[in-house]
């Protein structure tokens, strides 16, 4: 029995005492969270269930989990019966990844500069980012169209990527600035003394340490690009093979008739990459977002 072990025991006893919740409260807690989780998941689950049903059964006025269910819808969608689905996937992947890469890079450099260097104009820059959030971007379509046209980027993926960056970079910069603020400046200075340039500090010390923040930023930028419809339909050429998924899926929504089964199957296919990215970064989300929002 040493003296050091005493306080640990006391603490353990206290934790177990405090950790105890009455049975009733525990049930209520889990019940509430279970109901909330069900509500959160159900729409997606329902789309999944529907995706296996033929179009006609999907709109049957009875609740059934399985109703002539098969993989036929998926086969139809992937085989390109309704449009070049695989080409849309490639376009979407390309545009979303490029957006993610560029947006993360831009917001990281900007966020770092704003977080670390008290340069004249830094506050104004942050304020302008907040204001940029207020633009009803959709209304800027015509001027944006003109700009892209004169830059020769109209109808190209790059043009769309740049537009997506303008919508995601301001928020991402805010978030990353908050995250960078949580990394002690001593680390930067230590790096400077050890022989790094300001850019070296950013690249070799701060970026590796900001991985949670970067993950959240990447997630946000990816989603922005992956699920966007309005710009994509306005700025990409109308030819089938240059569409993104979000635009392409409209083929299942006919004039008066929606092919619900096929649309559901296609939606699930579209969601898979987004959910996969989400799953990869979800453990960083709380820390990453917290730093950004708390400091923002």
């Amino acid at each position: 029995m040493t003296i050091e072990s005493l306080p640990i025991q006391v603490q353990a006893a206290r934790v177990s005492l405090r950790g105890k919740r009455s049975m009733g409260r525990s049930v209520a807690l889990h019940a509430t969270l279970t109901v909330a989780s069900l509500i959160a998941v159900f729409p997606v689950f329902w789309v999944l269930v529907t995706s296996f049903k033929p179009d006609a059964r999907a709109v049957a006025p009875t609740i059934r989990l399985f109703d002539e269910s098969s993989l036929a819808n998926y086969r139809d969608v992937l085989s390109g019966q309704q449009g070049d689905f695989l080409a849309w996937v490639l376009n979407s992947v390309e545009i979303a990844l490029l957006t993610t890469l560029i947006a993360v890079f831009l917001s990281a450099t900007t966020g770092y500069a704003v977080s670390r260097f008290r340069f004249p104009g830094s506050r104004k820059l942050l304020l302008s980012f907040l204001i940029a959030q207020m633009f009803p971007f959709a209304v800027l379509i015509v001027p944006l169209f003109n700009v892209l046209l004169s830059l020769g980027l109209q109808g190209t993926g790059i043009g769309l990527v740049l537009v997506y960056c303008t919508t995601s970079v301001p928020f991402c910069t805010y978030m990353l600035k908050g995250y960078f603020d949580t990394i002690p400046t001593d680390i930067d200075e230590s790096g400077r003394v050890d022989g790094l340039s300001p850019f070296g500090v950013f690249w070799r010390l701060v970026l590796p340490l900001a991985r949670p923040g970067l993950a959240v930023t990447a997630f946000y930028a990816f989603l922005t690009a992956w699920g966007e419809v309005a710009f994509a339909s306005a700025f990409l050429s109308a030819s089938d093979e240059s569409k993104t998924l979000a635009v392409g899926l409209q083929v299942f929504v006919q004039q008066n008739r929606v092919e619900w089964g096929h649309l559901a199957a296609a939606s699930i296919l579209v969601s898979i990459p987004a959910v996969a990215v989400f799953y990869l970064v979800q453990r960083f989300l709380v820390t990453g977002l917290a730093a950004g929002a708390v400091k923002g």
Binding site: V193, D194, S197
Partner: protein, 366 residues
């Protein structure tokens, strides 16, 4: 190896009015010397160190390392190593990577880095931990890694910014001795910042005392203690602090309650040429003693007795000009007076009292 010089270097922070964090600092540090910058918080000691590191701009004046003007040289060109208060270890690197990082940036060969890191790790008793991340180390071990990171580079100057303040009291004393020994062994010029005057006195070859960005005095610990240049240094150096009171002057000396401390002729002459009616009188606790009932002495009411074993410090109040003033007296630890008791206090040796100008605080040479 190099000498360091601050040539009336200033750091001015913008504001209204601008803050002169370091004001016209003039300081020469010899090659191989261990110089401690000490002062209360906000005295500019850390800023002065960071100016030397190149982490803070020099707004006026210049800084030289090894005779070379480095005022506008970025940190990496100054051949310095720095130990931070927070240690600033890179969390994503192992101990070995942390220690070898600067060498790696310099393009040193892998084998050489490995050898040098191993050597430093041995010196600091870190060999077992080389593959660990900083998170998995205790406070003391982290501190040693921070030291190791500096040593491995074999810089011409070590800069240390309160490197011990995150350690517990026992470890701090131990590490204090280790750093001093290490510095002597390596013989590298070292500038060490601390707010702890005990650290300053025990470690430094010389100690520079700063206050409000101004250098108060730079001297050996002995000199600082025996001949403080002004009332601030007198009060700052030494623990418990020197008793500093403004008292009236008479023809014979300084007049305390019921006690006239005789002053030398020259001191009195100096005071009278400056037209001083009173003077700031300083006397260290150990220069005071308890007096017998029939001796001349100040009447002191005991308010607190701090027993330290061999010695005891008596805190009490003396009425000077009707106002109660706190005095600290060192007495024998075996026979301290009791709380509430009235005792008489006299000066042990009148040559050990200090006199300062009541307004400027400057030392009046006795």
């Amino acid at each position: 190896m190099a000498e360091v010089a601050y040539v009336s270097a200033s750091r001015v922070f913008a504001g209204n009015p601008p803050v002169r964090a370091v004001d016209q600092l003039e300081l020469d540090v010899a090659d191989g010397e261990f110089l401690v910058l000490v002062g209360p918080s906000g005295s500019g000691k850390s800023t002065a160190l960071r100016m030397l590191a190149g982490l803070e701009d020099v707004d006026e004046g210049a800084i030289k390392i090894g005779g070379k003007d480095v005022t506008n040289v970025p940190p990496k060109g100054r051949d310095i190593a720095m130990v931070f208060q927070s240690y600033a270890l890179y969390p994503h690197m192992t101990v070995a990577e942390n220690m070898g990082f600067a060498l790696k940036l310099r393009g040193t060969s892998k084998q050489e880095i490995k050898d040098k890191v191993a050597e430093a790790a041995k010196m600091l008793d870190l060999t077992k931990y080389l593959d660990r991340k900083p998170k998995a180390l205790s406070g003391g071990q982290r501190q040693r890694v921070a030291m190791g990171r500096a040593i491995v580079r074999e810089p011409s100057v070590f800069l240390m910014d309160e490197p011990l303040s995150n350690l517990d009291a026992k470890l701090r004393v131990e590490t204090r001795a280790n750093i001093a020994a290490l510095q002597q062994r390596l013989g590298t010029t070292t500038i060490y910042v601390t707010h702890d005057q005990v650290e300053a006195m025990t470690m430094g070859d010389r100690v520079a005392v700063l206050k409000d960005g101004l250098l108060q005095q730079c001297a050996s610990p002995r000199e600082l203690y025996d001949r403080p240049a002004n009332a601030f240094v007198a009060g700052f150096i030494g623990s418990p602090a020197m008793n500093l009171k403004t008292v009236p002057l008479t023809a014979e000396g300084a007049l305390l309650d019921g006690l006239t401390v005789p002053l030398t002729r020259s001191a009195l002459d100096k005071a009278s040429t400056e037209g001083l009616k009173e003077v700031t009188f300083g006397v260290r606790p150990e220069t005071l003693r308890l007096a017998g009932a029939d001796e001349e002495g100040m009447e002191l009411t005991v308010e607190l007795v701090e027993e330290l074993g061999a010695d005891a410090y008596v805190y009490g109040s003396v009425r000077i000009g009707g106002v109660p003033e706190r005095f600290i007296v060192r007495v024998d630890g075996r026979t301290p007076p009791a709380f509430g008791q009235n005792v008489k206090v006299a000066v042990r040796d009148t040559s050990e009292v200090h006199l300062f100008h009541p307004e400027s605080g400057a030392r009046l040479e006795v």
